[in-house]
Symmetry: C2
Amino acid sequence: MRSGRISFGYSARMALGCGDISLALLTDLYQFTMAYGYWRSGRHREIAEFELFFRDPPFEGGFSLYCGLQEVLLYLRDFRLSDEEIAYLESALPSTVDKAFYRYLKTVDASEVTVKSIAEGSVVFAREPLMQVRGPLLVVQLLETTLLCLVNFASLVATNAARMRSAAGPDKMLLEMGLRRAQGPNGGISASKYSYIGGFDCTSNVLAGKLYDIPVAGTVGHSYVTSFSSLEEVHPKVLEPAGGKDPALDFLVLVEAWLQQVCQLLGVSPEHVNRGELAAFVSYGIAFPLNFLVLVDTYCVKRSGVPNFCAVALALHQLGYRAVGVRLDSGNLARQSVEIRSTFRACAKHFNVPAFEKLSIAISNNVSERSLLQLNQEDNEIDVIGVGTNLVTCPLQPSLGCVYKLVQVNGCPRMKLSEDQDKMTIPGSKTVYRLYDCHGHPFLDLMALEDEPPPSVGREMELHVLGRWEETRKVTPGATEVLHRVYFKDGQICQHLPTISDVKAHAQHSLNMLPSEHRKLHNPKPFKVALSEKLYHLLNNLRRTSHLQ
Amino acid sequence: MRSGRISFGYSARMALGCGDISLALLTDLYQFTMAYGYWRSGRHREIAEFELFFRDPPFEGGFSLYCGLQEVLLYLRDFRLSDEEIAYLESALPSTVDKAFYRYLKTVDASEVTVKSIAEGSVVFAREPLMQVRGPLLVVQLLETTLLCLVNFASLVATNAARMRSAAGPDKMLLEMGLRRAQGPNGGISASKYSYIGGFDCTSNVLAGKLYDIPVAGTVGHSYVTSFSSLEEVHPKVLEPAGGKDPALDFLVLVEAWLQQVCQLLGVSPEHVNRGELAAFVSYGIAFPLNFLVLVDTYCVKRSGVPNFCAVALALHQLGYRAVGVRLDSGNLARQSVEIRSTFRACAKHFNVPAFEKLSIAISNNVSERSLLQLNQEDNEIDVIGVGTNLVTCPLQPSLGCVYKLVQVNGCPRMKLSEDQDKMTIPGSKTVYRLYDCHGHPFLDLMALEDEPPPSVGREMELHVLGRWEETRKVTPGATEVLHRVYFKDGQICQHLPTISDVKAHAQHSLNMLPSEHRKLHNPKPFKVALSEKLYHLLNNLRRTSHLQ
């Protein structure tokens, strides 16, 4: 079931799931009080640079996938304050604020802002800038909260999805189905989009499928099954054989005959089979003869769900159709999948229907990274896994904690010291290089000052690895790559924006390049992020001077 | 800082933070495959009833606040599928689907749906229906995911906020500031709205303030402070005394003089004070002479932040203004607040400025329910607490887990059995009564079948408490209340919709009525939810019949 063809970047606010609401006020009030402070001091047009980064890798893992860039770019392109928005601000800010400030706000947009960014979907690491935002102090300050809001959850849920993909292995089909547990409509839409980029195959969320061209999937829930109580409720009872040339047959009669045979084979009493469930399956088989996949745990899986499924599936095969499979939503999923596969094999053999061996077994029910890992340790015959709550709410770490910090004003590097060492920032406008070994695998990301010469391939260099700054370390890159490109300048998006499939492919490639020791879900080897000698000295000097002051 | 006057229910999609995007497709695909199954069997117009409820109280607590009703009502009022949406569905569903189904979908709306609900903001408990949705089977099925999406997070975050309010005590001012950590724009807006209902005083989120008439607040972040490096950057340097009658004075000169005195009093060297921080404070004081509250932990709190703040605040007082206070964002917040309060008292006394004793001390930095409880155990002088991540992402339980289950079709009760006992549903269309003791406190919620006579005040009755169903228990209500009212009928919202302040007030009243033993944050006494004798027998009969089949 594929969605229609609507491009990834449909329109700024549409992409944000926010329609005609401007996002210019989707920010913290203190951005406006600070903006006024800058304006009042005549500093609003000073050129400042902020960096957006996270301090620790999420989920105690070794990497994150960086997402949200495209939505940030669309937001920037449209960024300006309407008269109505400014009137609201006037009502919310103190009456001592100079009215000329509001007149100035009417002229503000992102046309003088330059954004450099790592490519969306890339593997990224703690403390390196994902985005470098340069422009008039007042404007780049105003952007902070919205940029964080757009990057934080997007990157978090994509990373969560990538970890689940890794835990599930490459062969399982993974379905995102968390809409009902997400933080409202937009939370759910974002979760669908970025889970897909992170490695899921499809979503249950129809609107996300439509907006972003993500494959959508889904069959029946328990309510469908419980809504039927007897075969009397099934109309029509007939089904045409596949091909459409032969006259329709009484499908109920076929199913009843198959049910007797199935019950005999499985040693189940036909009286224990729930007739409402059978009616639900029959009606669904008639409705979707080529897509017959039903939930078999509404009553008893063994004594009712599976026999009923097999009877309808065999009747469909008799008419030239091919059933898809079953879904389980409770109990021990691995064990049941093995038992069901064995039943399918018995049917395949006994009734000479080889396709029955390959029927799909789908599961859901509070699946988590941990249960996926456990599943991989156990025998199981599961083909499709639906994940909801634990994917979209990221309970192991519900926020990525990206921050947006000032690193330079008027060409002068700035840093924030703090009582918490960990909250200290790394000053200055930087170029970030990814260094590769001679086999083409990345082994270190290097932050250097913008005006430093780039590292030379094959030449040994000295640097300081974060976490052990004091030591000088020597490395020799086999290849280097500048991580950031200019994505936004002069009010325009200045790179071709990739489709969502391109971003997904880039994410998978970027992950696969990373040596597996950094990709381990637990106790990964930390990927090194380092400072150049020059940046290290700048940081130390600024730290000393601030303390001395 | 109060927001403008825009009513709670501005417009359906606006209230959902989704502008002109229709939410009709914001659902799981399987709702449409089930809808087709019903339609194909001719059952789509059978009258069905679903109940929306949660199975366990969130956060291992004793209660939940029910929220999201108003957004559900606005969604229902607008519910219909456009031609474009139906065309997308056609592309996403199997090609075997009868085209007449799509023509039928064009006629579908919620005009035949009746929704009974508990009042928004009410205290509610596990397994009782929050909402009872009755109407044509196909339509009420289609509504499932969206209703869950709108109620789940709203109720969860309101409950989280109520718990934090309880942990913080009634006197602290609580500010929600989680936008940057929420699940995108709409997650952030929802968090602001429902935190306010749950007991917070204000939000940092400007758009939420504007949309929902929530007070907004905020002052400065670290970037403002680090953006200044010297007093040279402060323009203008002058400030008019309060009242506006006297000529402006050189504010810098005043501040410098006060700084010498403050440093002497506090035993701090004026050389250790960071001059960039002083410049930031001076500029902010000139910009907001009546709202001077600054972040004092960018460099060293004791040797720089507090002395700088006191110098500017004293200069403001000298000119007839009154400073507001300080904010701390790192380190041991309780201990620092006590030290700062002692400094303020020393200044108050030494400089004869009594208002200094009452200066506000605000804190932030990863505040959680647990840290609020700890804070209450420690000496502290904190007045205002900002909470972000742990409020909006609800890490203790990131999803409420509401479900939407079929309880009746065509007047016949339905139930879902399951391998998991806990996933069993309670069949039949019900009336829910809250029973009060003779002191007017609620002590039990009773689910009875719709056609049963109501419980009589002062007359003993028998019932079965959930969790211990087998036992018959006797209670005598001092008063009773029917919990549900009809909110939506004939396509119309049929109750006056309360303002957000009304909902907040109702939530606080509803919480206060609840005996404190049920409100305890840890190991609360479970509030009893019970079945009437008749409902209990129906459930047992259906369970037996399903198993026997």
